[in-house]
């Protein structure tokens, strides 16, 4: 809990007293003494803030994301306006060679863009600036973020709405070289500038090979991983890891939902102990008045469950098993949770009853899966058909009358195969927050799970819907295909081939 006064630096009188009675009681120009002491106190207080940061870095839980400095002088030169990252066009900005289609501006190598705003490069460490002044005391100019200037952390630049060099009150100094004025400069004072000194990454992340920029999500992920490494893998560390990765809200204790409101930004879930901001597209999965246990994900951004007790979570419609899990020469089989007819055949070669059912995936893979299942059954002395035999005292091979007529493939899989070791999650990407972490950290997921268990994550992407006119397909050079069958389309020379791909699901209505 912050406390004031925290120490003798916060007590001006106490700080004055150390100078002795002459300076505080006899010397008449007290304002001069006070000015000096106030300056020294400010310096010492800044020193204490830095020390506080140092103390906080002792614990990875309290390590601050940013190092805050009360006053930082920063000199800008007129010649550097919009220079470097502040104003140069960059790859990925969406510009084209030659004149821009909308403005007609023609970009030139090494020259800043012609824009109204004025920006100066400040370096990547700056992450926040609370205000910019022309001097520390009695300022004539006070610029506020979001109004007068913007700290663009992407470009590592401060962008001013109005060029300071065109404004009065700023102290503009000439820059001389060989007795000639070659430039002009202004010293800005940044108030409460926040620097990313990579404290988390350097002190903790580096030791575990989890490095990254100092964001709240990174800190959460780092602590989840280190907690798991030191204290063992737990449900909580997994929840925390996934919540950090996907930027989805999860509770850390039992809480009661007080209200769900939407402010000017997005929906907010308010519980008795915490407030969670929810992405606008997310569906909130808790209700007002509901008491929710620790580990509850509040939106459909991530739904996590297991097949414990052989039950399928109600939000899971189907599950895809890939080559890593299948032990036959098949890939990507989809088990739906729908009642599916049981297909009963007689294996002519062995005269044994063979069962199968519809699965999603390549028909060849499906066939291989059931062939393998049947072969293994024969080899082990009991086929799947025999396991499914409904007779209490079977005598001979079962036929269709001795077998169930339908089966729920996913429920069967959950009850008999996956119930012991498998967690399952469904990620709705559009419901995740904007601070989703880089996929590089996903490699830790495997290390957060016991080696005898696995987590099957299903990602649900909902591509932006676009309306296309069928007439334009020919113009775009892509033939309209019958989507009921797999298709191939040959790109011939002459197309604008780029080093990126975009997948789009195209559906339409025929009139």
């Amino acid at each position: 809990m912050a406390q004031f006064p925290a120490n003798d630096l916060d007590r001006a009188e106490r700080f004055r007293r150390v100078m002795g009675g002459f300076w505080t009681g006899v010397f008449q120009a007290q304002d001069q003494v006070d000015a000096l002491l106030d300056g020294l106190r400010a310096l010492h207080q800044q020193d204490q803030l830095l020390l506080q940061d140092l103390v906080d870095t002792l614990s990875r839980y309290t390590t601050p994301l940013l190092e805050t400095r009360t006053w930082v002088p920063f000199t800008i030169q007129e010649s550097r306006r919009n220079g470097g990252s502040a104003g140069m066009a960059r790859f990925g900005d969406g510009y084209v060679f030659g004149p821009q289609p909308d403005t007609g501006e023609e970009l030139q190598h090494g020259m800043p863009r012609n824009v109204r705003t004025s920006g100066w490069e400040v370096g990547p460490a700056y992450q926040s600036i609370a205000a910019i002044q022309d001097r520390v005391a009695l300022p004539q100019q006070v610029l506020l973020p979001g109004i007068d200037f913007l700290l663009d952390t992407e470009r590592s630049a401060v962008i001013f709405d109005v060029n300071p060099f065109t404004q009065p009150h700023w102290v503009i100094e000439p820059v001389f070289a060989a007795g000639t004025v070659i430039d002009r400069q202004i010293t800005l004072w940044f108030y409460r500038a926040g620097f990313d000194v990579q404290a988390l990454s350097r002190r903790w992340g580096a030791a575990f090979g989890i490095e990254g920029a100092s964001t709240a999500g990174y800190k959460r992920l780092l602590n989840a991983v280190v907690d798991a490494l030191i204290g063992g893998n737990t449900r909580q560390t997994l929840d925390e890891f996934l919540a950090a990765m996907l930027d989805v809200p999860v509770t850390n204790s039992t809480q009661q939902v007080q209200s769900i409101v939407t402010d000017q930004h997005s929906p907010v879930v308010i519980t008795d102990t915490a407030v969670y901001r929810v992405p606008e597209a997310a569906e909130i999965t808790v209700a007002e008045g509901q008491t929710i246990p620790a580990g509850t994900f509040l939106t459909d951004g991530l739904q996590l469950g297991s097949f414990s007790r052989g039950l399928v979570p109600d939000w899971l419609n189907c599950l895809s098993l890939d080559r890593d899990l299948l032990r036959c020469d098949a890939d990507q089989l989809i088990f739906s949770n729908e009642e599916t007819p049981l297909i009963v055949e007689l294996d002519d070669a062995t005269q044994r009853t063979k069962v199968s059912w519809a699965l999603g995936g390549n028909p060849l893979d499906v066939r291989e899966f059931f062939n393998s299942l049947h072969r293994r059954g024969i080899a082990s002395g009991k086929t799947m058909a025999q396991y499914l035999d409904t007779r209490t005292d079977p005598d001979g091979e079962p036929d269709a009358t001795n077998l169930p007529t339908t089966i729920r493939p996913l429920a069967f899989l959950a009850a008999n195969v996956l119930r012991n070791n498998v967690l399952v999650g469904r990620v709705r990407v559009s419901s995740c927050g904007s601070s989703i972490l880089d996929a590089q950290y996903l490699k830790w997921l495997r290390r957060l799970l016991p080696p005898r268990s696995t987590l099957l994550l299903t990602f649900v992407w909902e591509p932006t819907q676009e309306k296309l006119s069928v007439d334009r397909f020919e113009d775009e050079g892509v033939a309209l295909q019958d989507c009921t069958e797999p298709f191939e389309d040959q790109l011939t020379a002459g197309y604008d081939v780029r080093d990126s791909l975009q997948f789009r699901e195209v559906s339409g209505t025929c009139h």
């Binding site: 150390v18 300076w23 020390l51 103390v55 002792l58 614990s59 929840d239 498998v422 799970l449 005898r452």
Partner: protein
């Protein structure tokens, strides 16, 4: 700040002088023509800076002492507690804060009159003060009870009356853990007061952990406490303060024949993914008595048959019912006979829900429930459906629910894991031995010998075998002179999760049978010996003097 800047008054003149000398020296080196000995520069620049630097040096010294484990361990008293907490938080170690002890006391009064014990009434006992946190009203009849804080006054056999209220120690700490029977006296007037005593041992009192104590836990906390292997599970359990003294833990998992819960697929193989933790939290089971409302279900030639049920919170993981008696029964009454014992389980509110499909799997776990019937031979007739209160004494192994909830909790449970804590399957042991004591040797203290034998048997982990020689060794070491031990008769009674009783008897060794289908084996079943079940008799002999 955790380590704040020391007040300038705390800085010694010598430390300031040293800082001043350093400052002056640096300034003089940088600006040789500047006067630093006295004057304005000294007073305005050097003096201020020197005092701040000296104070900051003290601050940094404290920081240094408190920010690394080696110095913290070298002299914990010099370290700043908050900084130590930060350092140790990285190892998931949190300082335990103290708690006040609580417990029930029985207040005995001389008259049957309504009495109110006001909020804040202080009772002194065991050198500690205890206080009521609410006002309690003692009512003369249950019909007058209207609030949770109302108590019914009960008549005692000696003509006095009594009621029970809870107290909380005024101070946090273990000093408030007074024992059952400790006398208490009110510091203000309680009408018709005769006496008051602790109805049970007070619980939950604890001291705030010192840095030394916190560090002592470091050794047990740094090793992985998790689900990697069986020892880690035990470390995870014992790493928690409340379970530090848990006696024995046996972890059953995949490919262990006693594991039945991972065989629920149509595929006849052990699929793993299930862990059963058998716990023996203390040497011998504990008896827990409580009032239960019983319902008359029938009457037979022996008397009336009554039924009651135990829910999963009554005596979690209970073994059996040891006694059923009326509240007015005297202490020497053995109790009515249990004639029906059916176990079940209740998974309500379980999180996560363990994979339980048979009652046998759930027996002795915190989810076990039970329905029991007994014959009240003192009440030959009654109406089916009528109810009466009986005092039920259950035999159980403490901490089963607490350990299960801890291991299953979000902060300790294994992702995708399914774990079930159970009380060790009991093999109740009885030992009979005759001590051969020369006529010239005084009789040994049998109570001490009984305790020694029980301690020896109860200290065995999950041995599977109990040899009579182990008993002989304990007795012989405790005996003096030419006293010796005759042949020992060992009896064992295993209560299986399937409600089957297996009896063992031998003069040499009793062995836990290997019945994995019933989850019984040496890895799941523990020998439990109550000192009262050590039957020692003395045979006086004349030994020839040599």
């Amino acid at each position: 700040m955790t380590i704040d800047l020391p007040a300038f008054d705390e800085v010694s003149d010598a430390e300031i002088a040293m800082a001043r000398e350093q400052m002056a020296s640096r300034l003089k080196t940088a600006f040789p023509s500047t006067e630093v000995r006295r004057g304005v520069i000294r007073d305005h620049v050097i003096q201020n800076q020197a005092i701040y630097q000296a104070a900051r040096q003290l601050q940094l010294d404290r920081y240094d002492r408190s920010s690394n484990l080696r110095d913290i361990q070298a002299d914990p008293a010099l370290s700043d507690p908050e900084l130590v907490d930060k350092v140790l938080s990285n190892f998931l170690l949190t300082r335990r804060t103290g708690a006040a002890a609580t417990g029930n006391i029985r207040i005995v009064i001389s008259e049957l009159v309504p009495i109110t014990v006001a909020t804040g009434t202080i009772f002194e006992g065991g050198g500690q003060n205890f206080v009521t946190t609410e006002a309690y009203s003692a009512r003369i009849a249950s019909s007058a009870v209207t609030a949770d804080t109302d108590r019914v006054i009960e008549a005692l056999q000696d003509g006095t009356y009594a009621f029970t209220i809870p107290l909380t120690a005024q101070e946090t700490g273990i000093a408030g853990l007074i024992r059952q029977g400790t006398k208490l006296a009110p510091l203000s007037v309680v009408p018709y007061f005769v006496t008051a005593y602790a109805e049970s041992d007070f619980v939950d009192g604890s001291n705030t952990e010192t840095t030394e104590e916190l560090l002592a836990r470091l050794d047990t906390k740094i090793p992985a406490r998790g689900w990697s292997h069986r020892d880690n599970v035990a470390a995870l359990t014992r790493g928690e303060e409340a379970f530090e003294d848990v006696l024995h833990i046996s972890v059953i998992g995949m490919a262990d024949p006693e594991m039945r819960r991972d065989d629920l697929s149509i595929f006849p193989v052990s699929l793993g993914g299930r862990v059963d933790v058998y716990v023996r939290s203390q040497g011998r089971p504990q008896l827990l008595a409580g009032a239960k409302l019983c319902t008359l279900v029938e009457q037979n030639c022996d008397g009336t048959v009554w039924q009651f049920s135990l829910d999963k919170e009554d005596a979690p993981g209970f073994y059996d019912i040891r006694r059923v008696a009326l509240p007015t029964a005297t202490a020497d009454f053995a109790g009515y006979e249990i004639i029906f014992d059916r176990r079940d389980y209740d998974l309500t509110d379980a999180d996560p829900v363990p994979d339980l499909v048979t009652t046998t799997d759930a027996v002795f776990s915190r989810f076990q429930t039970g329905v029991f019937r007994f014959v009240d031979t003192d009440k030959p007739s009654g109406t089916v459906g009528e109810t009466a209160t009986y005092v039920i004494t259950a035999r159980y192994m403490p901490l089963i629910a607490e350990i299960h909830d801890f291991l299953a909790s979000r902060g300790h449970g294994e992702p995708a894991g399914d774990m079930l804590v159970k009380a060790a399957i009991p093999c109740f042991v009885r030992v009979e031995a005759t001590l051969l004591i020369p006529n010239t040797t005084p009789s040994p203290d049998l109570t001490t010998l009984q305790q020694a034998v029980a301690d020896a048997v109860n200290s065995l982990e999950f041995p599977g075998l109990l040899y009579s020689s182990q008993i002989t060794k304990v007795l012989q070491e405790a005996l003096t002179g030419a006293a010796s031990v005759s042949a020992i008769d060992l009896h064992g009674e295993i209560r299986s999760p399937a409600s089957v009783i297996y009896y063992l008897r031998s003069t040499e060794v009793i062995q836990i049978p290997n019945l994995p289908a019933e989850m019984i084996s040496g890895r799941t079943t523990a020998f439990l010996l109550d000192p009262q079940d050590v039957i020692l008799s003395i045979s006086r002999r004349n030994f020839a003097e040599i």
